[in-house]
C-alpha cells in the first residue's frame, strides 16, 4: 500500500517563503484535494514532491523510503506521477507517440534502438487501452497541437497514467477548459483506479466537493486546515481566505 | 617587474576593449533573452564607418568616432525591430542561426566595400607615443583605452543605477511580464537598449582597431571572444561582463607574453573551466 509522507517541508526563494512546514500524508485510495488562493504555493508543493524543486528543509518519503535526495526522474520511477497546470505535451508528435514516449519510460525501454515485435505490440495494446479508457481513440494519429484544448487536458492525464503510478498529483486538470468540457475530465478523474493515491489541485469548488474525501487548505505556503469537505466548508477561516482576498474566485465558491 | 607591468597594461586595455564591445550584448541578452551572434558586427561597422568618414570626408579621429558611433546606434534600431524581434522567444539555435546569417552578409558587404585586406584607422597624433608613470614608460594609447573603458563603466553604472531608464531596464531584466504590466514600454526599452549596445560596440571597435584590426571577417573572427565575455560574466550584468572581460583579456595577454604558442588555448580553457564550474557565469543568477 502506497503511502506518501510529506514532513515539515519548507522552501524559500531568497526571502520569499513559498512553503512553510507543510506536513501531510497521502495513502493508497486517498482522494484528497489541495485548495487555496492563487499564490498559496500549491504548484510549488507539487514541484517539491516530484523533485523539480529541492526543499530548503523537511523530508518526503514513499512507503518509508526517503525521496528527498532522489532526482526528479528517480521519483517518477518510484511511482509519483504528475500533470501540469499548463499542458506540457509533445506538441509536434501524434497523440499515439505522446503515449508511446511515456509507456517506453514506464517499461524502461527508452534506450532500445531495436524493439522486438512482441514488445512493440504490447506497447500498442497499452496505447489502445489508455486511449479507449479516456475516449481518445479517434485522435491517436493526430498531432497534439491540432487537438482541442479539452482533449489536450485528457492527454495530460493519460501521460501520467501511462506511468502506472502509485501516487498521482493532478495540477488543475480542468484549467482553461470550458465548463461543458470539464465534465469529461472529471469523469476520468472519478474513474481513476481505486488503489491510486490522488492529490487534486483545483479552483472549481464544485469539482473539489464532488471528488474529495479530504481537503487540505493552503495559504501563503502553510497548511491552514485539513478536514472533510463538510468541515472545511463550514470553517470560517477558509471562507475569509477566499472572500477576503480573491475576488475572481468568488463565483466558484458561491453558486 | 617590467614584464608584469606590460602584461597588466596590455591585458587590462585589451579587456577594456572586450568590455566596451560586449557590454551591449550582455544587457540586451539579459533584457530580451535573445542571442545576437552578430553583435561583433556592430563593432566592425563602427570601425569601417569611422575609417570611411576620416578617409573620404577628411574629418578628424574624434569626429569619425562620434559620427560612426551614432550612425551604428541608429542603424541597429531597425535591425532589432524588424529582424531580431522575429526570433524573440524562439529556440536559442534559431536566434544563433539568424544572427550567423547576418554575420555572413556583413562580411560579404564589408568585403565588397572595403576589400579583404586590413583597413587601418589612423589614431590622432596626441595619442601616440609613450607616457612615463613612476619608473615605467607605457604606450599612451593603451592608457587612453583603459581610461575610456573606465569612463564607459562609470557612465553605464550611473545610467543603470541612478536614472529612471536604468530602473526600467533592471525591472525588465528581472521580469519582463511584470515590467510590462506596471506600464513600462518594453518595446521602446528594447530598441533603446539595443541601440545603445550597438553604439558602444561601435565605439569599442573604433578605439580597439589597433588591437583587433578591421578586416572583413572581423565579425566572425571575434565572435567567440565577444560571446565568451557575456557567458563567462553572466548575461545581463555589467559587473560580470567587466570582470570577465578583464579576466579573459589578462589570461590571453599573459599567455601571449609567457607561452605564445598556447595563447588561444589558454583563453578557451579559461572559458571552458568557468562555464563548466559555473554554467550561469561568474555573476549570473542561476535559473
Amino acid at each position: 500500500m502506497a503511502e506518501l509522507r510529506i514532513d515539515g517541508i519548507c522552501k524559500n526563494f531568497g526571502g520569499l517563503v513559498v512553503a512553510s512546514d507543510v506536513t501531510f500524508t497521502l495513502s493508497a485510495g486517498d482522494r484528497t484535494a489541495l485548495i487555496g488562493p492563487n499564490g498559496a504555493g500549491k504548484t510549488t508543493l507539487v514541484n517539491l514532491i516530484t523533485g523539480a524543486l529541492k526543499p530548503s528543509s523537511g523530508t518526503i518519503s514513499l512507503d518509508g523510503k526517503p525521496l528527498t535526495r532522489l532526482s526528479q526522474p528517480a521519483r517518477a520511477q518510484a511511482g509519483i506521477a504528475r500533470t501540469f497546470q499548463v499542458s506540457r505535451l509533445f506538441r509536434d508528435q501524434t497523440v499515439g507517440d505522446n503515449l508511446r514516449i511515456a509507456i517506453h519510460q514506464q517499461r524502461r525501454q527508452s534506450l532500445r534502438v531495436v524493439q522486438p515485435r512482441a514488445d512493440a505490440d504490447a506497447v500498442e495494446a497499452q496505447v489502445e487501452r489508455i486511449l479507449t479508457a479516456l475516449r481518445l481513440q479517434h485522435a491517436v494519429g493526430r498531432e497534439v497541437r491540432h487537438l482541442p484544448y479539452g482533449e489536450q487536458r485528457l492527454l495530460e492525464i493519460a501521460l501520467a497514467l501511462a506511468l502506472e503510478p502509485r501516487v498521482l498529483l493532478l495540477d488543475e486538470p480542468a484549467a482553461g477548459v470550458p465548463r461543458g468540457e470539464s465534465e469529461a475530465i472529471m469523469e476520468v478523474v472519478a474513474a481513476l483506479p481505486a488503489d491510486l493515491a490522488v492529490l487534486l489541485i483545483e479552483h472549481d469548488m464544485d469539482l473539489v466537493f464532488r471528488f474529495a474525501r479530504k481537503i487540505i487548505v493552503l495559504a501563503s505556503g502553510a497548511v491552514l486546515t485539513v478536514g472533510t469537505p463538510e468541515a472545511v466548508a463550514a470553517d470560517g477561516r477558509v471562507k475569509q481566505l477566499y472572500f477576503g482576498r480573491e475576488h475572481d474566485e468568488h463565483r466558484h465558491v458561491v453558486h | 617587474m617590467n614584464l608584469l607591468i606590460s602584461i597588466l597594461v596590455d591585458g587590462v586595455s585589451y579587456g577594456m576593449i572586450l568590455f566596451i564591445i560586449s557590454i551591449g550584448l550582455s544587457i540586451t541578452m539579459g533584457l530580451m533573452r535573445v542571442v545576437n551572434m552578430a553583435h561583433g558586427g556592430f563593432a566592425m561597422l563602427g570601425g569601417f564607418f569611422a575609417a570611411a568618414i576620416m578617409a573620404w570626408l577628411g574629418l578628424s579621429f574624434a569626429a569619425g568616432l562620434a559620427i560612426a558611433t551614432v550612425v551604428v546606434a541608429l542603424v541597429s534600431v531597425p535591425i532589432e525591430r524588424y529582424l531580431m524581434r522575429l526570433v524573440y522567444g524562439r529556440h536559442v539555435l534559431d536566434q544563433a542561426l539568424l544572427s550567423i546569417g547576418m554575420i555572413y552578409i556583413i562580411i560579404a558587404a564589408a568585403n565588397l566595400l572595403f576589400g579583404s585586406s586590413i583597413t587601418t584607422l589612423q589614431i590622432p597624433h596626441a595619442l601616440t607615443g609613450w607616457v612615463t608613470i613612476g619608473d615605467h614608460t607605457m604606450p599612451k594609447y593603451r592608457i587612453f583605452i583603459i581610461v575610456a573603458g573606465l569612463v564607459v563603466l562609470g557612465l553605464l553604472w550611473f545610467a543603470i543605477e541612478r536614472t529612471s531608464f536604468g530602473i526600467r531596464v533592471r525591472a525588465a531584466v528581472d521580469n519582463s511580464a511584470i515590467a510590462q504590466s506596471v506600464g513600462i514600454n518594453t518595446s521602446l526599452l528594447y530598441s533603446v537598449a539595443f541601440g545603445i549596445g550597438a553604439g558602444l560596440a561601435a565605439l569599442g571597435g573604433i578605439i580597439g582597431a589597433q588591437i583587433m584590426p578591421m578586416e572583413s571577417t572581423y565579425a566572425l573572427k571575434y565572435l567567440v571572444l565577444v560571446l565568451a565575455v557575456v557567458t563567462v560574466g553572466g548575461m545581463g550584468t555589467v559587473t560580470g561582463s567587466f570582470v570577465a572581460a578583464l579576466l579573459l583579456g589578462l589570461v590571453n595577454t599573459a599567455a601571449i607574453y609567457l607561452v605564445p604558442s598556447l595563447a588561444s588555448v589558454a583563453f578557451y580553457i579559461a572559458m571552458f573551466l568557468v562555464l563548466t564550474l559555473r554554467p550561469q557565469g561568474l555573476f549570473g543568477r542561476s535559473a
Binding site: 508528435q93 525501454q109 534502438v113 | 550567423i100 548575461m235
Partner: protein, 335 residues
C-alpha cells in the same frame, strides 16, 4: 468502429515503413549510382558531397532529433579524421579498420566532452561546444610534430578495400566506398531514429521538463545521442582522411561546424532526408558560386540561413512534406 480505426491508424504508421523495406536506402543508392554516371568527371567532388552528407546526417541525429544545439560538431569529425590518418600512417593501412578506429575515436571524444558539456544548457552549452572545437583545433595546430600543424597531416595512404579495390586517380573507388558507407550509416541512423530511443530523443527535444516528470534520465539519454553522433561524425572524418589522403586543420574549424549547421537547417532538421538534400544544395551552390567570387557566396549562405529561420523553419524538405501530407489527408478523407 473506433477500435478498428485506431488499429488501422496504428498499422498505417508502422506499415508505411514496412511495406518496402530499405526504401530510403534504395533511393539513396540509386541516386548515388545515377550521379556516378551523370557526372563521371566530378567524382572527387561527389565523394566530398557524400562524406559531408554523412557528417550532416550525424548532426541531424544530435540536433534535429534530440535538439542538442551544438556549433562545434566538427570536433568529432576532426578527431575521427586525425586518428584515422595517424592510424594509417603509423599502424595499419586497412581502410575498414581505420574507418572503425576513426569512428570510435569520434565517439570517445563526444562521450568525454559531452559528459561535461551536457550538464549545461542554452547559450552556455552552445559556447562550450564552440570552445571544445576551438581547443582541439589549437591542439592540432600546436602539436605540429604529430599532426603536421598548419600544413595538415599528409601522406595518409590506405590499402585496397578487401585487398581488391585500389584507391584510383579517378576517385572511382573513393566514391563508391564513401557511398556504401553513407548508405549503411543512413540505415543505422534511421533505425535509431525510428526506435523507442529515437522517439524518446524527440520527446526531450520537444519538452525536457515533461520527460523528467515521466522518469527519463535526460542527461544520460542525451549523452548517448551525443556519443552516437560523435561515432558517425568520426566515420565521416575517417572517410575524408582516407579519400583525400590528407587531414587539414579545417576539419576541426568553426566554419566546418557552421557550414554543416547551415546545410542541415536549409535542408530541414526534423527528418533525415533533409540533411542529404541540404548538403547537396549547399555544396553545389557553393561549388558554382565560390568559383565566381568566394565572398559573394557569403551573401547567398547568409540569405539562405535567414530565409530558412524566418520563412521555412522546416527547411527544404518541408516543401515536399507539406503537399504530401495534404494529399494523404485528402485521400484518407475520400477513402
Amino acid at each position: 468502429m473506433a477500435e478498428v480505426t485506431l488499429r488501422r491508424a496504428a498499422e498505417a504508421t508502422r506499415a508505411g515503413r514496412r511495406t518496402v523495406p530499405f526504401l530510403p536506402e534504395i533511393i539513396l543508392a540509386v541516386v548515388g549510382v545515377a550521379a556516378f554516371f551523370l557526372f563521371p568527371d566530378d567524382l572527387a567532388f561527389l565523394a566530398q558531397i557524400v562524406i559531408t552528407a554523412l557528417f550532416v546526417l550525424s548532426l541531424s541525429l544530435v540536433l534535429g532529433q534530440a535538439g542538442i544545439p551544438t556549433i562545434g560538431h566538427a570536433a568529432y569529425m576532426g578527431t575521427g579524421a586525425y586518428v584515422a590518418g595517424l592510424f594509417a600512417i603509423h599502424f595499419n593501412q586497412d581502410p575498414l579498420l581505420g574507418l572503425l578506429i576513426g569512428g570510435l575515436a569520434g565517439a570517445a571524444m563526444a562521450a568525454i566532452t559531452g559528459a561535461l558539456l551536457l550538464r549545461t544548457q542554452h547559450l552556455t552549452f552552445v559556447m562550450l561546444t564552440i570552445a571544445v572545437a576551438q581547443i582541439l583545433y589549437e591542439i592540432a595546430n600546436q602539436a605540429s610534430g604529430i599532426t603536421g600543424g598548419d600544413n595538415g597531416l599528409s601522406g595518409v595512404a590506405v590499402n585496397p578495400i578487401f585487398g581488391v579495390f585500389q584507391f584510383d586517380l579517378y576517385s572511382h573507388t573513393a566514391y563508391f566506398y564513401s557511398l556504401v558507407v553513407l548508405v549503411i550509416s543512413y540505415f543505422l541512423i534511421r533505425q535509431v531514429v525510428e526506435s523507442p530511443f529515437g522517439l524518446t530523443s524527440r520527446g526531450i527535444h520537444s519538452d525536457r521538463e515533461r520527460m523528467l516528470a515521466l522518469g527519463c534520465n535526460v542527461y544520460r539519454h542525451l549523452l548517448i545521442v551525443f556519443t552516437i553522433g560523435g561515432l558517425f561524425a568520426g566515420f565521416a572524418g575517417a572517410l575524408s582522411a582516407q579519400v583525400a589522403q590528407v587531414v587539414g586543420l579545417s576539419s576541426l574549424s568553426f566554419s566546418t561546424s557552421g557550414d554543416a549547421l547551415v546545410m542541415l537547417i536549409v535542408g530541414g532538421s526534423a527528418r533525415l532526408p533533409g540533411a542529404l538534400i541540404g548538403t547537396v544544395v549547399f555544396m553545389v551552390i557553393q561549388h558554382v558560386a565560390s568559383n565566381v567570387n568566394p565572398y559573394h557566396w557569403l551573401f547567398i549562405i547568409g540569405g539562405l540561413l535567414i530565409i530558412a529561420v524566418l520563412v521555412l523553419p522546416g527547411g527544404l524538405i518541408s516543401l515536399v512534406d507539406k503537399p504530401a501530407a495534404w494529399l494523404r489527408q485528402r485521400r484518407a478523407a475520400r477513402g
